[in-house]
């Protein structure tokens, strides 16, 4: 047996022994563990599972052990995720610390910053939110205006951020601020970390088409932040910001699996609402649409696997990663539109009698899928990036 085969067996055994049965079911919105100062567990099992994972560093399996991770290699991490998926284990916790700012701190942070922040993320003690977009800076993110003025060893922050997910439940924010208003727009930005409990911070929820309110607009009124809280170099925050956006895009292409909390797939909807005759879906047009979706989804999964294999063989190409967010989120939208057509009225229920919880959730999932191709860089921005960086097509100035 190879080392990896042994490793896989060990992980499988550990998960079998340690993941409570109730933690092997699809997680609902309410039961998702986000971590943070106000962390409450919905069940005893959720706490048990969380504590066991924290102890082993399994919330961040690929981080070094000294910062609270399990120190797994890329291959080991992949195996770990596969085994988690095989048993349908819930993620012990999910948050922007794990997905985004943690990896950025690992890459750009000082030793002091790593020691201060990473273990708290790994243990789910601090919940992070992201201060990127502004009312006037969406796709043109680098046009952001939220300013940080120097005052001795501190910055004074004034301005506003929008689409700060769960800002009203978060403990810390990683925030892009303008530290040099006179520099070209990409060169006067600093990547700043600060406590949401600081004086002058106010977060107001925004209601979305789904009816949910987890996005906020966040206001900063003379918020004082120590300069040592900058991640990376002052005025060079755009480099860090772009890296974090890559993490976000990779994460969002994975969203499809975790976002579909109703558990409905085009195939399951088709079998339920149209039905099989002699093992064949009774409607040939829907049958082809469903299969087309399944193949596209498999192609996306296999693209991620192929990238890993290519890097393992020394022939990797980061260009391929550029497609994941665009393909993943666009296909997710097509998937829900297809389910809507198949399930008809039952996929459009908003509230009350006549609809199961899963069906009501499905309506929300459909609407939520619209946000994913906008957040974290719209599909159009993704296509711009592919055209310019991968295909080398010239920009408007003819460069």
């Amino acid at each position: 047996m190879s080392d990896l085969t042994t490793f896989r067996q060990e992980i499988r055994d550990w998960l079998n022994d340690n993941c409570p049965e109730s933690m092997r079911t699809p997680v609902t919105q309410e039961e998702q563990i986000w971590g943070g100062r106000n962390l409450r567990f919905p069940t005893e099992d959720a706490k048990l599972w969380f504590d066991r994972c924290v102890e082993k560093g399994y919330c961040v399996p690929d981080w070094p052990e000294e910062y609270g991770g399990a120190g797994f290699s890329a291959k080991e991490t992949r195996i770990f995720k596969e085994e988690m998926a095989r048993l349908n284990c819930r993620a012990p916790q999910v948050n922007l610390g794990i997905w985004m700012v943690g990896p950025a701190i690992l890459e750009f942070g000082t030793e002091e910053q790593k020691r201060e922040h990473l273990p708290k993320i790994a243990r789910g003690e601090i919940r992070w939110c992201q201060g990127y977009s502004e009312p006037g800076a969406g796709s043109d993110l680098a046009g952001l205006q939220c300013k940080a003025e120097s005052d001795g060893d501190d910055y004074i922050i004034n301005g506003s951020k929008i689409w700060t997910s769960y800002a009203d439940h978060s403990d810390w924010i990683y925030c892009l601020v303008r530290t040099d208003p006179d520099a070209p727009k990409h060169e006067g930005i600093t990547f700043l970390l600060f406590d949401m409990a600081s004086e002058g911070v106010d977060a107001k929820p925004i209601e979305l088409i789904t009816g949910e309110t987890h996005f906020c607009q966040t206001f900063f009124d003379n918020v004082r932040v120590p300069k040592k809280n900058a991640l990376g170099v002052e005025n060079k925050g755009w480099t860090v910001a772009k890296r974090v956006l890559q993490f976000e895009r990779n994460m969002m292409s994975d969203m499809e699996a975790s976002a579909n909390t109703s558990g409905t797939t085009p195939r399951s909807a088709a079998i339920e609402h149209i039905g099989l005759v002699d093992g064949k879906l009774a409607d040939p047009v829907f049958r082809q649409s469903v299969v087309r979706h399944e193949i596209q989804k498999r192609a996306l999964d296999k693209t991620q696997q192929r990238m890993a294999d290519e890097f393992a063989q020394g022939v990797g190409d980061m260009s391929v990663a550029m497609i994941l967010k665009y393909v993943g989120t666009e296909e997710e939208k097509r998937k829900y539109e297809l389910i809507l057509k198949i399930a008809g009225e039952q996929a459009l229920g908003w509230s009350g009698e006549g609809f199961s919880d899963a069906e009501l959730q499905l309506t929300r999932d459909w609407l939520a899928s619209k946000t994913h191709s906008i957040a974290g860089g719209t599909s159009e921005i993704q296509l711009n990036i592919i055209a310019k960086r991968v295909l080398g097509l010239p920009d408007a100035a003819g460069k």
């Binding site: 299969v291 498999r298 693209t303 192929r306 063989q313 993704q382 991968v390 295909l391 408007a396």
Partner: protein, 379 residues
């Protein structure tokens, strides 16, 4: 089960690329077409290919092959697709060779495969009877008589039949068109009495023929595999050829795409490079994403086939379907984005579109393979 060609396969692929770029650029196909060449491919190039080992690339060493596997062949086919190389590699090796390998007895394999590998023998598969791929819609009959069978029927889209030494005929010894049972495979001499081969000229300037069998008498020894049980080995062989053809098509798609992107970096209108226009950039970027997805499905299918996975046939259908759809998208866009020059015969981009449509159709188009995928999935 790695989704990447290994070092040996990458080296084969490089060799294939170097070979066709030097010996058979698209211009060669144009010359064959314009001179109305009766063979339709270069025997000289095919001779060199055989010498370099491509004739036996997927056959076991015991039968005069080199045992590089279907993955190795597919890696080469991708490169051959980039220059639209016409050769009997698909018809005689990937398709007929695989049928013999899957259905033949030891003697047949010994005799035929090494001759195919050495290029002495060209074999074509006479399968299709309708306008689209359908391996069970067989009404050609093989009637049992003393010491043999009498074959009657008409076939179409028989690749390279006009130069074949032998034909493998898919005929029915029992059942009705549409049945899986009752299909049998026969080796028939291309010059046998009652065989009539007439070459058809399709848009891709490659070689196909319609073949009629008028009471063609064959002996029992002409039977490949068991009478009436030919579908299973045939379908396995078709799968090998399907993924090889998909790889060839995919090579052509990439070439057409890359040429188009390069053109956008050269062509000026309104005083600027047309590649600066976002409307065109997004179309190219979208095509790039589709091409990447195709590659993943192709590698997925090849890996499953190599590992003998039960799901391999479904994955081959997934790859052929997706690559066929992407081929339609990309070759149409390639012509459109070249503008006026794109619809001229002078520019080679049209050759890629013409080859793509035929290759999409051959061995099952997207519609056929979506249906097959669903059927294999029990859906």
């Amino acid at each position: 089960m790695s989704l990447v060609f290994n070092e040996e396969q990458r080296s084969l692929k490089d060799t294939a690329r170097g070979f066709v770029q030097a010996n058979s650029p698209v211009e060669s196909l144009r010359k064959l077409r314009d001179s109305q060449d009766s063979v339709g491919f270069s025997r000289d190039v095919w001779g060199q290919m055989v010498e370099l080992g491509w004739g036996g690339i997927i056959f076991p060493e015991a039968y005069g092959g080199f045992d590089f596997g279907v993955k190795g062949l597919a890696a080469c086919m991708e490169e051959f697709g980039r220059t639209l190389l016409p050769s009997p590699l698909l018809s005689s090796v990937a398709l007929s060779g695989s049928v013999i390998l899957q259905a033949g007895n030891e003697t047949q394999k010994q005799e035929l495969l090494s001759s195919i590998a050495s290029g002495e023998l060209l074999v074509s598969l006479a399968l299709e009877e309708g306008v689209r791929h359908n391996p069970v819609a067989i009404s050609t009959t093989a009637v049992r008589n003393e010491g043999g069978y009498t074959i009657s029927g008409s076939k179409t889209l028989v690749m390279d039949a006009h130069v074949a030494d032998q034909l493998i005929v898919v005929a029915r010894t029992a059942g009705q068109p549409g049945d899986h049972d009752g299909i049998s495979l026969f080796l028939v001499d291309a010059g046998a009495k009652g065989v009539m081969i007439s070459k058809t000229h399709l848009a891709d300037s490659r070689n196909y023929a319609r073949v009629t069998f008028d009471k063609v008498a064959v002996s029992d020894s002409a039977l490949l595999g068991e009478a009436g049980q030919g579908f299973a080995p045939l379908d396995r062989a078709l799968d090998v050829a399907r993924i090889c053809l998909a790889a060839e098509l995919f090579g052509g798609v990439q070439e057409a795409f890359e040429r188009t992107v390069e053109y956008l970096k050269e062509r000026k209108q309104f005083g600027v490079l047309i590649g600066t226009f976002q409307g065109l950039q997004h179309r190219c970027a979208h095509m790039y994403t589709e091409i990447q997805l195709c590659k993943s499905l192709m590698m997925d299918a090849l890996s499953a086939l190599e590992a003998g996975k039960e799901k391999a046939p479904a994955l081959i259908s997934a790859a052929k379907a997706k690559i066929s759809e992407t081929a339609e998208l990309v070759t149409n866009e390639a012509v459109q984005l070249h503008g006026g020059i794109g619809v001229t015969d002078e520019l080679e981009i049209g050759f890629f579109m013409k080859r793509a449509r035929v290759a999409q159709l051959l061995l099952g188009d997207a519609h056929f393979h979506y249906d097959r995928y669903a059927r294999l999935e029990g859906f």
